[in-house]
Symmetry: C2
């Protein structure tokens, strides 16, 4: 029917894993109402492809070698592309979620989502509706709800610098020498770091920094 063909949702897949690209292509091509127009293996290629093929929805992985996903999303929204970007990633680390959505992603799903959820998410994204993985959604809510409560502020450049040295086992005195500041200043930075990360000591600070992708 002519009506149906008008409702077919066109897709572009951007993922560095051939297996995943094939999986998505197969999944959507064999389902009625979807058509995969093309695939790209990194963010830069992805932006080009989307510009040429103008799909309804872009399924975008984050963390790809050569062309990060977040940068690609920002580029697309910056260009005013009509395509909706649906982030489809393996792990839901703190550091990925927020930047991706800020950059203009319409949705954020984890790869372990069942087929139907994926289909629904793509249809929703095509309509411009925001779709979030339950796990991601709850995280976002708690993030917004607790701005000062659970200390989720970003570290300053200097603080990150200090934290990196802490992670290497550098003592406060050594850090002071390394950064050409006094030991007192190092301690001040650390106090701020602990507050921002909600950590009790340097060990916990390093741990949460790794959890949030600030280190590693």
């Amino acid at each position: 029917m002519a009506e149906d063909s008008a409702r077919v949702i066109t897709l572009v897949v951007v993922d560095d894993h051939p297996v995943v690209r094939d999986g998505l292509r197969g999944m959507f091509d064999s389902a009625p109402g979807f058509r995969v127009l093309g695939e790209a293996s990194n963010g830069v290629e992805g932006v080009d492809l989307v510009a040429r093929l103008d799909p309804d929805v872009v399924l975008m992985d984050l963390r790809m070698p050569g062309g990060g996903g977040v940068a690609a999303i920002a580029e697309l929204t910056g260009r005013g592309t009509r395509s909706k970007v649906l982030v489809l990633t393996t792990y839901d680390t703190d550091s990925d979620t927020l930047p991706a959505i800020e950059a203009g992603a319409t949705g954020y799903l984890l790869k372990d989502a069942p087929r139907d959820e994926l289909f629904n998410a793509v249809r929703a994204a095509a309509d411009g509706r925001t779709v979030l993985s339950p796990a991601v959604a709850s995280r976002l809510v708690s993030r917004v709800r607790a701005p000062g409560t659970a200390g989720h502020e970003a570290l300053s450049a200097r603080e990150r610098e200090v934290l990196e040295l802490v992670a290497k086992g550098t003592s406060n005195r050594e850090i002071a020498a390394e950064l050409f500041i006094s030991e007192a200043t190092v301690k001040t930075h650390l106090t701020h770091i602990f507050a921002k990360l909600g950590a009790k000591d340097r060990a916990a600070a390093v741990a949460t920094a790794y959890e949030r992708g600030i280190l590693g």
Copy 2:
């Protein structure tokens, strides 16, 4: 030809991501010489399925909710299954590689491997040949080459337990209370942890633990 059908390699896919399962199934079913007999979404199901279907090769993900991949591999080799297990995982963390191979995996590939490499790997695995991703192979070599040189010893279960609490900002005294041991013992464990990880203090220990995939 009758000869060809005898050479068809049968597969079972074990992965918690539907997308990946579909990707692999599509990839192998559409290629000549392979047939996917079934899929499972965790290690326990995987073991059952392999026992029933007796495939030539099992494509196994590690890190699945409910039934770890390494345990499944150990179970299969323990049962003397003839199926070869090919580990197919996303990231190549230190903590995964060695246990999987020790458990009896025939090969270890990363999901970002190109199609042809995957096909070749499966054929090799079916023949009983060991196939390692270049990245993994070089890591293993360096691991074997430098056993005492760069302090790469594994932590004991108790030590890991202590380290996990350290990463949460727990003090030695609190750790002692939590684990029903004395503070002195906690310190002893920590001294050993520092030595094994080559870390100067608890912060550095947490950092290297994250780097090596022991934590996170």
